[in-house]
Symmetry: C2
Subunit: 264 residues, 2 copies
Protein backbone atom coordinates (compact mmCIF):
# COMPACT_ATOMS: atom_id res chain seq x y z
CA UNK A 1 0.00 0.00 0.00
CA UNK A 2 1.25 3.47 -0.88
CA UNK A 3 1.57 5.49 2.27
CA UNK A 4 0.98 9.15 1.65
CA UNK A 5 1.22 9.96 5.35
CA UNK A 6 4.99 9.49 5.20
CA UNK A 7 5.39 12.13 2.50
CA UNK A 8 6.63 15.17 4.41
CA UNK A 9 4.60 17.76 2.49
CA UNK A 10 1.48 15.67 2.93
CA UNK A 11 2.10 15.01 6.60
CA UNK A 12 2.63 18.72 7.29
CA UNK A 13 -0.62 19.70 5.58
CA UNK A 14 -2.43 16.85 7.25
CA UNK A 15 -1.17 17.89 10.68
CA UNK A 16 -2.31 21.44 10.03
CA UNK A 17 -5.75 20.28 8.97
CA UNK A 18 -6.24 17.95 11.91
CA UNK A 19 -5.30 20.71 14.36
CA UNK A 20 -8.13 22.89 13.12
CA UNK A 21 -11.13 22.34 15.33
CA UNK A 22 -13.50 22.82 12.42
CA UNK A 23 -13.08 19.77 10.22
CA UNK A 24 -15.23 16.81 9.24
CA UNK A 25 -13.30 14.39 11.45
CA UNK A 26 -13.86 16.42 14.59
CA UNK A 27 -17.35 17.71 13.86
CA UNK A 28 -18.97 14.79 12.08
CA UNK A 29 -17.06 11.50 12.16
CA UNK A 30 -15.81 11.46 15.75
CA UNK A 31 -19.09 12.34 17.54
CA UNK A 32 -20.97 9.67 15.56
CA UNK A 33 -18.46 6.85 16.03
CA UNK A 34 -18.31 7.58 19.77
CA UNK A 35 -22.09 7.13 19.96
CA UNK A 36 -21.77 3.72 18.28
CA UNK A 37 -19.12 2.38 20.69
CA UNK A 38 -19.76 -1.00 22.27
CA UNK A 39 -19.05 -1.41 25.98
CA UNK A 40 -15.26 -1.81 25.95
CA UNK A 41 -14.56 -1.58 29.67
CA UNK A 42 -12.10 -4.31 30.67
CA UNK A 43 -11.76 -5.36 27.02
CA UNK A 44 -8.85 -5.85 24.61
CA UNK A 45 -9.02 -3.52 21.60
CA UNK A 46 -7.27 -3.51 18.23
CA UNK A 47 -7.18 -0.13 16.46
CA UNK A 48 -6.51 -0.37 12.71
CA UNK A 49 -5.05 2.87 11.33
CA UNK A 50 -4.66 4.56 14.69
CA UNK A 51 -3.10 7.83 13.45
CA UNK A 52 -1.95 10.00 16.35
CA UNK A 53 -3.38 7.67 19.00
CA UNK A 54 -6.04 10.08 20.16
CA UNK A 55 -8.75 7.41 20.26
CA UNK A 56 -6.44 4.86 21.86
CA UNK A 57 -5.95 7.22 24.79
CA UNK A 58 -9.74 7.64 24.88
CA UNK A 59 -10.12 3.84 25.09
CA UNK A 60 -7.74 3.40 28.07
CA UNK A 61 -9.11 6.46 29.85
CA UNK A 62 -12.55 4.88 29.57
CA UNK A 63 -11.67 1.50 30.96
CA UNK A 64 -10.11 -0.56 28.16
CA UNK A 65 -7.81 -3.27 29.50
CA UNK A 66 -5.35 -3.20 26.61
CA UNK A 67 -5.03 -1.53 23.22
CA UNK A 68 -2.92 -2.64 20.26
CA UNK A 69 -2.81 0.27 17.82
CA UNK A 70 -1.30 -0.05 14.36
CA UNK A 71 -0.63 2.38 11.55
CA UNK A 72 1.30 2.10 8.29
CA UNK A 73 2.90 5.51 8.88
CA UNK A 74 6.06 5.82 10.95
CA UNK A 75 5.34 9.53 11.31
CA UNK A 76 1.96 8.80 12.82
CA UNK A 77 3.21 6.12 15.20
CA UNK A 78 6.04 8.43 16.36
CA UNK A 79 3.53 11.16 17.08
CA UNK A 80 1.18 8.75 18.86
CA UNK A 81 4.02 7.55 21.10
CA UNK A 82 4.82 11.13 22.04
CA UNK A 83 1.31 12.50 22.45
CA UNK A 84 -0.72 9.53 23.62
CA UNK A 85 1.61 7.13 25.40
CA UNK A 86 0.19 4.79 28.03
CA UNK A 87 1.42 1.50 29.44
CA UNK A 88 -1.80 -0.13 28.29
CA UNK A 89 -1.26 0.90 24.65
CA UNK A 90 1.10 -0.87 22.23
CA UNK A 91 1.78 1.23 19.14
CA UNK A 92 3.14 -0.58 16.09
CA UNK A 93 4.08 0.39 12.55
CA UNK A 94 2.19 -2.25 10.58
CA UNK A 95 0.28 -2.35 7.30
CA UNK A 96 -3.34 -3.35 7.67
CA UNK A 97 -2.72 -5.98 4.98
CA UNK A 98 -0.40 -7.75 7.43
CA UNK A 99 -2.57 -8.02 10.53
CA UNK A 100 -2.74 -11.76 9.93
CA UNK A 101 0.67 -11.85 11.66
CA UNK A 102 -0.78 -10.65 14.98
CA UNK A 103 -1.06 -13.59 17.38
CA UNK A 104 -3.36 -12.09 20.04
CA UNK A 105 -7.14 -12.11 20.14
CA UNK A 106 -9.34 -9.05 20.74
CA UNK A 107 -12.84 -8.27 21.97
CA UNK A 108 -13.23 -5.17 19.84
CA UNK A 109 -11.67 -4.18 16.52
CA UNK A 110 -11.96 -0.47 15.76
CA UNK A 111 -11.04 1.50 12.66
CA UNK A 112 -11.68 5.13 11.85
CA UNK A 113 -11.55 6.35 8.24
CA UNK A 114 -8.92 3.90 7.07
CA UNK A 115 -10.66 0.99 5.31
CA UNK A 116 -11.14 2.97 2.08
CA UNK A 117 -7.35 2.83 1.66
CA UNK A 118 -7.40 -0.97 1.60
CA UNK A 119 -7.69 -2.75 -1.73
CA UNK A 120 -8.83 -6.19 -0.56
CA UNK A 121 -11.73 -5.63 1.84
CA UNK A 122 -12.75 -9.28 1.77
CA UNK A 123 -9.27 -10.39 2.92
CA UNK A 124 -9.25 -7.67 5.59
CA UNK A 125 -12.52 -8.96 7.07
CA UNK A 126 -11.21 -12.52 6.91
CA UNK A 127 -8.17 -11.43 8.95
CA UNK A 128 -10.34 -9.50 11.42
CA UNK A 129 -12.55 -12.55 11.96
CA UNK A 130 -9.42 -14.45 13.02
CA UNK A 131 -8.37 -11.69 15.44
CA UNK A 132 -11.74 -11.41 17.19
CA UNK A 133 -12.88 -13.44 20.15
CA UNK A 134 -16.31 -15.12 19.77
CA UNK A 135 -19.06 -12.46 19.60
CA UNK A 136 -16.40 -9.76 19.34
CA UNK A 137 -17.36 -6.43 17.79
CA UNK A 138 -16.06 -4.72 14.67
CA UNK A 139 -16.82 -0.99 14.44
CA UNK A 140 -15.48 1.00 11.53
CA UNK A 141 -16.04 4.21 9.63
CA UNK A 142 -15.01 4.86 6.05
CA UNK A 143 -15.72 7.33 3.30
CA UNK A 144 -19.23 6.82 1.97
CA UNK A 145 -19.67 4.77 -1.22
CA UNK A 146 -21.61 7.79 -2.50
CA UNK A 147 -18.44 9.87 -2.16
CA UNK A 148 -15.84 7.38 -3.38
CA UNK A 149 -17.80 6.37 -6.50
CA UNK A 150 -16.77 9.25 -8.76
CA UNK A 151 -13.58 8.71 -10.79
CA UNK A 152 -11.01 11.48 -10.80
CA UNK A 153 -9.77 12.24 -14.28
CA UNK A 154 -7.72 15.25 -13.26
CA UNK A 155 -6.94 17.50 -10.34
CA UNK A 156 -9.89 19.75 -11.03
CA UNK A 157 -12.50 17.01 -11.33
CA UNK A 158 -15.86 18.60 -10.72
CA UNK A 159 -17.81 16.87 -7.95
CA UNK A 160 -20.92 19.02 -7.64
CA UNK A 161 -23.04 21.17 -9.89
CA UNK A 162 -25.49 23.99 -9.24
CA UNK A 163 -28.84 23.65 -10.99
CA UNK A 164 -31.83 25.91 -10.33
CA UNK A 165 -30.33 27.12 -7.08
CA UNK A 166 -29.66 23.64 -5.69
CA UNK A 167 -26.38 21.78 -5.22
CA UNK A 168 -26.26 18.30 -6.76
CA UNK A 169 -23.47 15.77 -6.37
CA UNK A 170 -22.27 14.01 -9.50
CA UNK A 171 -22.64 10.25 -9.38
CA UNK A 172 -20.99 7.84 -11.79
CA UNK A 173 -19.03 4.58 -11.85
CA UNK A 174 -20.84 3.37 -8.74
CA UNK A 175 -20.45 -0.26 -9.82
CA UNK A 176 -16.81 0.10 -10.88
CA UNK A 177 -15.19 -1.14 -7.71
CA UNK A 178 -11.67 -0.16 -8.53
CA UNK A 179 -9.13 2.27 -7.18
CA UNK A 180 -9.67 6.01 -7.11
CA UNK A 181 -6.77 8.42 -7.27
CA UNK A 182 -7.22 12.00 -6.27
CA UNK A 183 -4.97 14.87 -5.43
CA UNK A 184 -4.98 16.09 -1.85
CA UNK A 185 -2.40 18.48 -0.46
CA UNK A 186 -0.25 18.05 -3.60
CA UNK A 187 -0.06 14.28 -3.18
CA UNK A 188 -1.94 11.55 -4.97
CA UNK A 189 -4.12 9.71 -2.50
CA UNK A 190 -5.23 6.23 -3.60
CA UNK A 191 -8.55 4.94 -2.32
CA UNK A 192 -10.70 1.94 -3.19
CA UNK A 193 -14.37 2.32 -3.99
CA UNK A 194 -16.83 -0.35 -2.83
CA UNK A 195 -20.61 -0.34 -3.02
CA UNK A 196 -22.94 -0.64 -0.04
CA UNK A 197 -23.95 -4.06 -1.36
CA UNK A 198 -20.35 -5.31 -1.46
CA UNK A 199 -19.78 -4.11 2.11
CA UNK A 200 -22.90 -5.98 3.27
CA UNK A 201 -21.99 -9.15 1.35
CA UNK A 202 -18.33 -9.24 2.41
CA UNK A 203 -19.32 -8.89 6.07
CA UNK A 204 -21.75 -11.82 5.79
CA UNK A 205 -19.28 -13.97 3.83
CA UNK A 206 -16.65 -13.46 6.51
CA UNK A 207 -18.74 -14.59 9.44
CA UNK A 208 -20.11 -11.26 10.65
CA UNK A 209 -23.63 -10.45 11.74
CA UNK A 210 -24.42 -6.83 10.92
CA UNK A 211 -25.78 -4.85 13.87
CA UNK A 212 -26.01 -1.37 12.34
CA UNK A 213 -25.34 0.64 9.21
CA UNK A 214 -25.19 4.40 9.81
CA UNK A 215 -24.64 7.18 7.31
CA UNK A 216 -23.06 10.37 8.62
CA UNK A 217 -25.07 13.44 9.46
CA UNK A 218 -24.23 16.94 10.64
CA UNK A 219 -25.86 18.34 13.75
CA UNK A 220 -26.80 21.98 14.20
CA UNK A 221 -23.53 22.78 15.94
CA UNK A 222 -21.49 21.42 13.03
CA UNK A 223 -23.54 23.32 10.43
CA UNK A 224 -23.20 26.52 12.46
CA UNK A 225 -19.42 26.15 12.41
CA UNK A 226 -19.22 25.13 8.76
CA UNK A 227 -22.26 25.81 6.64
CA UNK A 228 -21.37 23.35 3.89
CA UNK A 229 -21.97 20.46 6.29
CA UNK A 230 -25.66 20.98 5.61
CA UNK A 231 -25.00 19.01 2.44
CA UNK A 232 -24.61 15.85 4.51
CA UNK A 233 -28.37 15.50 3.92
CA UNK A 234 -27.78 15.46 0.19
CA UNK A 235 -24.80 13.11 0.20
CA UNK A 236 -23.27 11.87 3.48
CA UNK A 237 -19.47 11.85 3.66
CA UNK A 238 -19.02 8.81 5.88
CA UNK A 239 -20.43 5.36 6.49
CA UNK A 240 -20.29 3.61 9.88
CA UNK A 241 -20.70 -0.13 10.32
CA UNK A 242 -21.09 -2.13 13.50
CA UNK A 243 -20.95 -5.92 13.21
CA UNK A 244 -20.54 -8.89 15.51
CA UNK A 245 -18.43 -11.98 14.90
CA UNK A 246 -20.95 -14.75 14.50
CA UNK A 247 -19.00 -17.58 12.91
CA UNK A 248 -15.38 -18.51 13.49
CA UNK A 249 -13.94 -19.06 10.02
CA UNK A 250 -10.88 -20.67 11.55
CA UNK A 251 -12.57 -23.15 13.87
CA UNK A 252 -10.91 -26.40 12.81
CA UNK A 253 -10.93 -28.14 16.14
CA UNK A 254 -13.73 -30.03 17.82
CA UNK A 255 -14.59 -27.30 20.30
CA UNK A 256 -18.13 -27.09 18.98
CA UNK A 257 -18.91 -30.80 19.14
CA UNK A 258 -21.16 -31.94 21.97
CA UNK A 259 -19.46 -33.52 24.96
CA UNK A 260 -18.50 -37.17 24.62
CA UNK A 261 -18.24 -37.02 20.83
CA UNK A 262 -14.99 -37.04 18.97
CA UNK A 263 -14.27 -35.64 15.55
CA UNK A 264 -14.04 -38.49 13.09
CA UNK B 1 -51.86 4.12 -0.80
CA UNK B 2 -52.68 5.88 -4.07
CA UNK B 3 -53.01 3.33 -6.79
CA UNK B 4 -51.96 4.72 -10.12
CA UNK B 5 -52.45 1.33 -11.81
CA UNK B 6 -56.22 1.80 -11.66
CA UNK B 7 -56.07 5.07 -13.60
CA UNK B 8 -57.13 4.03 -17.11
CA UNK B 9 -54.66 6.24 -18.98
CA UNK B 10 -51.83 5.00 -16.79
CA UNK B 11 -52.86 1.36 -17.08
CA UNK B 12 -53.02 1.59 -20.88
CA UNK B 13 -49.55 3.11 -21.14
CA UNK B 14 -48.22 0.64 -18.61
CA UNK B 15 -49.68 -2.29 -20.55
CA UNK B 16 -48.09 -1.01 -23.72
CA UNK B 17 -44.71 -0.63 -22.05
CA UNK B 18 -44.77 -4.08 -20.44
CA UNK B 19 -45.59 -5.69 -23.78
CA UNK B 20 -42.43 -4.31 -25.35
CA UNK B 21 -39.73 -6.91 -25.07
CA UNK B 22 -37.07 -4.26 -24.64
CA UNK B 23 -37.63 -2.78 -21.20
CA UNK B 24 -35.77 -2.76 -17.92
CA UNK B 25 -38.13 -5.22 -16.27
CA UNK B 26 -37.62 -7.86 -18.94
CA UNK B 27 -33.98 -7.26 -19.70
CA UNK B 28 -32.54 -6.37 -16.31
CA UNK B 29 -34.80 -7.00 -13.32
CA UNK B 30 -36.36 -10.34 -14.22
CA UNK B 31 -33.18 -12.23 -15.21
CA UNK B 32 -31.44 -11.14 -11.99
CA UNK B 33 -34.28 -11.93 -9.58
CA UNK B 34 -34.67 -15.38 -11.18
CA UNK B 35 -31.00 -16.08 -10.45
CA UNK B 36 -31.56 -15.20 -6.79
CA UNK B 37 -34.54 -17.54 -6.29
CA UNK B 38 -34.44 -19.90 -3.35
CA UNK B 39 -35.55 -23.50 -3.88
CA UNK B 40 -39.34 -23.13 -3.83
CA UNK B 41 -40.32 -26.61 -4.97
CA UNK B 42 -43.15 -27.90 -2.79
CA UNK B 43 -43.27 -24.56 -0.94
CA UNK B 44 -45.98 -22.01 -0.16
CA UNK B 45 -45.31 -18.61 -1.70
CA UNK B 46 -46.73 -15.14 -1.07
CA UNK B 47 -46.27 -12.65 -3.93
CA UNK B 48 -46.64 -9.00 -2.88
CA UNK B 49 -47.58 -6.76 -5.82
CA UNK B 50 -48.10 -9.61 -8.28
CA UNK B 51 -49.15 -7.48 -11.28
CA UNK B 52 -50.31 -9.68 -14.17
CA UNK B 53 -49.38 -12.91 -12.38
CA UNK B 54 -46.59 -13.81 -14.79
CA UNK B 55 -44.22 -14.80 -11.98
CA UNK B 56 -46.94 -16.68 -10.09
CA UNK B 57 -47.42 -18.93 -13.10
CA UNK B 58 -43.63 -19.34 -13.19
CA UNK B 59 -43.70 -20.45 -9.54
CA UNK B 60 -46.35 -23.16 -10.00
CA UNK B 61 -44.82 -24.33 -13.29
CA UNK B 62 -41.59 -24.82 -11.39
CA UNK B 63 -42.95 -26.83 -8.51
CA UNK B 64 -44.48 -24.41 -6.00
CA UNK B 65 -47.17 -26.05 -3.90
CA UNK B 66 -49.35 -22.96 -3.50
CA UNK B 67 -49.17 -19.27 -4.35
CA UNK B 68 -51.10 -16.41 -2.77
CA UNK B 69 -50.68 -13.38 -5.02
CA UNK B 70 -51.90 -9.93 -4.03
CA UNK B 71 -52.05 -6.59 -5.79
CA UNK B 72 -53.68 -3.28 -4.92
CA UNK B 73 -54.93 -2.89 -8.50
CA UNK B 74 -58.22 -4.45 -9.56
CA UNK B 75 -57.13 -4.07 -13.19
CA UNK B 76 -53.99 -6.07 -12.53
CA UNK B 77 -55.75 -8.83 -10.61
CA UNK B 78 -58.40 -9.12 -13.36
CA UNK B 79 -55.66 -9.48 -15.94
CA UNK B 80 -53.79 -12.03 -13.83
CA UNK B 81 -56.92 -14.13 -13.42
CA UNK B 82 -57.39 -14.14 -17.20
CA UNK B 83 -53.81 -14.63 -18.31
CA UNK B 84 -52.25 -16.68 -15.53
CA UNK B 85 -54.97 -18.68 -13.83
CA UNK B 86 -54.06 -21.91 -12.05
CA UNK B 87 -55.78 -23.89 -9.31
CA UNK B 88 -52.65 -23.51 -7.18
CA UNK B 89 -52.76 -19.68 -7.38
CA UNK B 90 -55.08 -17.46 -5.30
CA UNK B 91 -55.24 -13.92 -6.67
CA UNK B 92 -56.51 -11.22 -4.31
CA UNK B 93 -57.03 -7.47 -4.51
CA UNK B 94 -55.26 -6.37 -1.32
CA UNK B 95 -53.11 -3.44 -0.29
CA UNK B 96 -49.66 -4.41 0.90
CA UNK B 97 -50.34 -2.34 4.01
CA UNK B 98 -53.05 -4.84 4.96
CA UNK B 99 -51.21 -8.15 4.69
CA UNK B 100 -51.41 -8.43 8.46
CA UNK B 101 -54.95 -9.74 7.85
CA UNK B 102 -53.67 -12.86 6.03
CA UNK B 103 -53.94 -15.87 8.34
CA UNK B 104 -51.74 -18.38 6.47
CA UNK B 105 -47.99 -18.89 6.78
CA UNK B 106 -45.54 -19.04 3.89
CA UNK B 107 -42.09 -20.45 3.15
CA UNK B 108 -41.16 -17.74 0.69
CA UNK B 109 -42.30 -14.12 0.36
CA UNK B 110 -41.52 -12.58 -3.01
CA UNK B 111 -41.94 -9.04 -4.27
CA UNK B 112 -40.81 -7.51 -7.53
CA UNK B 113 -40.49 -3.73 -7.89
CA UNK B 114 -43.27 -2.83 -5.48
CA UNK B 115 -41.70 -2.00 -2.09
CA UNK B 116 -40.73 1.52 -3.20
CA UNK B 117 -44.46 2.32 -3.32
CA UNK B 118 -44.83 1.53 0.39
CA UNK B 119 -44.44 4.31 2.94
CA UNK B 120 -43.81 2.28 6.08
CA UNK B 121 -41.10 -0.23 5.22
CA UNK B 122 -40.50 -1.10 8.86
CA UNK B 123 -44.15 -2.07 9.35
CA UNK B 124 -44.12 -4.04 6.10
CA UNK B 125 -41.15 -6.13 7.28
CA UNK B 126 -42.84 -6.63 10.65
CA UNK B 127 -45.90 -8.02 8.85
CA UNK B 128 -43.76 -10.23 6.59
CA UNK B 129 -41.97 -11.68 9.62
CA UNK B 130 -45.37 -12.79 10.92
CA UNK B 131 -46.32 -14.39 7.59
CA UNK B 132 -43.11 -16.40 7.21
CA UNK B 133 -42.45 -19.85 8.59
CA UNK B 134 -39.23 -20.24 10.61
CA UNK B 135 -36.17 -19.83 8.32
CA UNK B 136 -38.49 -18.64 5.53
CA UNK B 137 -37.02 -16.51 2.75
CA UNK B 138 -37.85 -12.95 1.72
CA UNK B 139 -36.65 -11.98 -1.77
CA UNK B 140 -37.49 -8.55 -3.13
CA UNK B 141 -36.42 -6.06 -5.73
CA UNK B 142 -37.03 -2.33 -5.61
CA UNK B 143 -35.81 0.80 -7.29
CA UNK B 144 -32.27 1.58 -6.17
CA UNK B 145 -31.79 4.17 -3.40
CA UNK B 146 -29.41 5.86 -5.86
CA UNK B 147 -32.34 6.37 -8.23
CA UNK B 148 -35.08 7.27 -5.76
CA UNK B 149 -32.97 9.86 -3.88
CA UNK B 150 -33.46 12.81 -6.23
CA UNK B 151 -36.49 15.01 -5.52
CA UNK B 152 -38.73 15.93 -8.43
CA UNK B 153 -39.54 19.62 -8.45
CA UNK B 154 -41.32 19.54 -11.77
CA UNK B 155 -42.11 17.33 -14.71
CA UNK B 156 -38.88 18.15 -16.47
CA UNK B 157 -36.59 17.53 -13.50
CA UNK B 158 -33.12 16.91 -14.90
CA UNK B 159 -31.64 13.62 -13.71
CA UNK B 160 -28.35 13.45 -15.58
CA UNK B 161 -25.80 15.87 -16.92
CA UNK B 162 -23.11 15.60 -19.58
CA UNK B 163 -19.69 16.83 -18.53
CA UNK B 164 -16.53 16.36 -20.62
CA UNK B 165 -18.17 13.67 -22.71
CA UNK B 166 -19.35 11.61 -19.72
CA UNK B 167 -22.84 11.11 -18.31
CA UNK B 168 -23.23 11.83 -14.61
CA UNK B 169 -26.31 11.20 -12.51
CA UNK B 170 -27.42 13.96 -10.17
CA UNK B 171 -27.48 12.96 -6.52
CA UNK B 172 -29.17 14.93 -3.76
CA UNK B 173 -31.49 14.48 -0.78
CA UNK B 174 -30.10 10.98 -0.17
CA UNK B 175 -30.81 11.28 3.56
CA UNK B 176 -34.27 12.78 3.12
CA UNK B 177 -36.30 9.61 3.44
CA UNK B 178 -39.61 11.02 2.36
CA UNK B 179 -41.98 10.58 -0.54
CA UNK B 180 -41.00 11.27 -4.12
CA UNK B 181 -43.59 12.31 -6.67
CA UNK B 182 -42.83 12.09 -10.32
CA UNK B 183 -44.80 12.15 -13.50
CA UNK B 184 -44.98 8.94 -15.51
CA UNK B 185 -47.39 8.42 -18.40
CA UNK B 186 -49.27 11.62 -17.43
CA UNK B 187 -49.95 10.38 -13.90
CA UNK B 188 -48.23 11.31 -10.67
CA UNK B 189 -46.48 8.26 -9.26
CA UNK B 190 -45.69 8.43 -5.54
CA UNK B 191 -42.67 6.51 -4.29
CA UNK B 192 -40.80 6.44 -1.01
CA UNK B 193 -37.06 6.88 -0.85
CA UNK B 194 -35.04 4.89 1.67
CA UNK B 195 -31.27 4.64 2.06
CA UNK B 196 -29.28 1.43 1.83
CA UNK B 197 -28.55 1.83 5.55
CA UNK B 198 -32.24 2.05 6.46
CA UNK B 199 -32.99 -1.07 4.41
CA UNK B 200 -30.21 -2.96 6.22
CA UNK B 201 -31.30 -1.72 9.66
CA UNK B 202 -35.02 -2.35 9.17
CA UNK B 203 -34.34 -5.93 8.06
CA UNK B 204 -32.23 -6.59 11.17
CA UNK B 205 -34.74 -4.91 13.49
CA UNK B 206 -37.53 -7.08 12.13
CA UNK B 207 -35.84 -10.41 12.74
CA UNK B 208 -34.23 -10.99 9.35
CA UNK B 209 -30.75 -12.25 8.62
CA UNK B 210 -29.48 -10.73 5.38
CA UNK B 211 -28.18 -13.30 2.89
CA UNK B 212 -27.41 -11.07 -0.08
CA UNK B 213 -27.58 -7.51 -1.37
CA UNK B 214 -27.35 -7.22 -5.13
CA UNK B 215 -27.36 -4.11 -7.31
CA UNK B 216 -28.67 -4.50 -10.83
CA UNK B 217 -26.41 -4.83 -13.84
CA UNK B 218 -26.95 -5.09 -17.58
CA UNK B 219 -25.44 -7.97 -19.51
CA UNK B 220 -24.13 -7.67 -23.08
CA UNK B 221 -27.43 -8.82 -24.56
CA UNK B 222 -29.36 -6.09 -22.74
CA UNK B 223 -26.88 -3.38 -23.75
CA UNK B 224 -27.03 -4.57 -27.37
CA UNK B 225 -30.82 -4.18 -27.35
CA UNK B 226 -30.82 -0.86 -25.52
CA UNK B 227 -27.54 1.00 -25.40
CA UNK B 228 -28.45 3.21 -22.45
CA UNK B 229 -28.41 0.17 -20.14
CA UNK B 230 -24.62 0.51 -20.17
CA UNK B 231 -25.22 3.23 -17.56
CA UNK B 232 -26.16 0.54 -15.04
CA UNK B 233 -22.42 0.60 -14.23
CA UNK B 234 -22.68 4.29 -13.35
CA UNK B 235 -25.89 4.07 -11.36
CA UNK B 236 -27.84 0.81 -11.07
CA UNK B 237 -31.62 1.07 -11.41
CA UNK B 238 -32.60 -1.73 -9.03
CA UNK B 239 -31.65 -3.26 -5.71
CA UNK B 240 -32.30 -6.92 -4.84
CA UNK B 241 -32.34 -8.22 -1.27
CA UNK B 242 -32.47 -11.80 -0.06
CA UNK B 243 -33.01 -12.37 3.66
CA UNK B 244 -33.97 -15.21 5.96
CA UNK B 245 -36.34 -15.07 8.89
CA UNK B 246 -34.13 -15.59 11.90
CA UNK B 247 -36.25 -14.46 14.83
CA UNK B 248 -39.97 -14.83 15.29
CA UNK B 249 -41.18 -11.44 16.49
CA UNK B 250 -44.55 -12.92 17.34
CA UNK B 251 -43.49 -15.94 19.34
CA UNK B 252 -45.59 -15.47 22.47
CA UNK B 253 -46.28 -19.10 23.17
CA UNK B 254 -44.03 -21.63 24.82
CA UNK B 255 -43.01 -23.38 21.61
CA UNK B 256 -39.36 -22.51 22.15
CA UNK B 257 -39.16 -23.54 25.78
CA UNK B 258 -37.32 -26.78 26.52
CA UNK B 259 -39.50 -29.82 27.12
CA UNK B 260 -40.96 -30.14 30.57
CA UNK B 261 -40.97 -26.41 31.24
CA UNK B 262 -44.07 -24.32 31.23
CA UNK B 263 -44.37 -20.63 30.58
CA UNK B 264 -44.92 -18.85 33.86
Amino acid sequence: MKNVYDSQTFFDSYQKMRKEVVNANNLIENPIIKKLMPNFSGKKILDLGCGDGNMDMFFVQNGADKVVAIDISKNMIEEAKQKNADKKIDYMVLEMEKIGSIQEKFDFVYSSLAFHYIQDFNKLLFDINKLLNPSGILLFSQESPLLTAIVFYDEKQQKTIELNGKTYYLLSDYENETKRENVWNDNIVTKYHRTYSTIVNNLIQNGFEIELFQDSYADEKAIKLKEKYKYEKDRPMFLFVKARKKKDLFDNNSAKLPKGQSQT
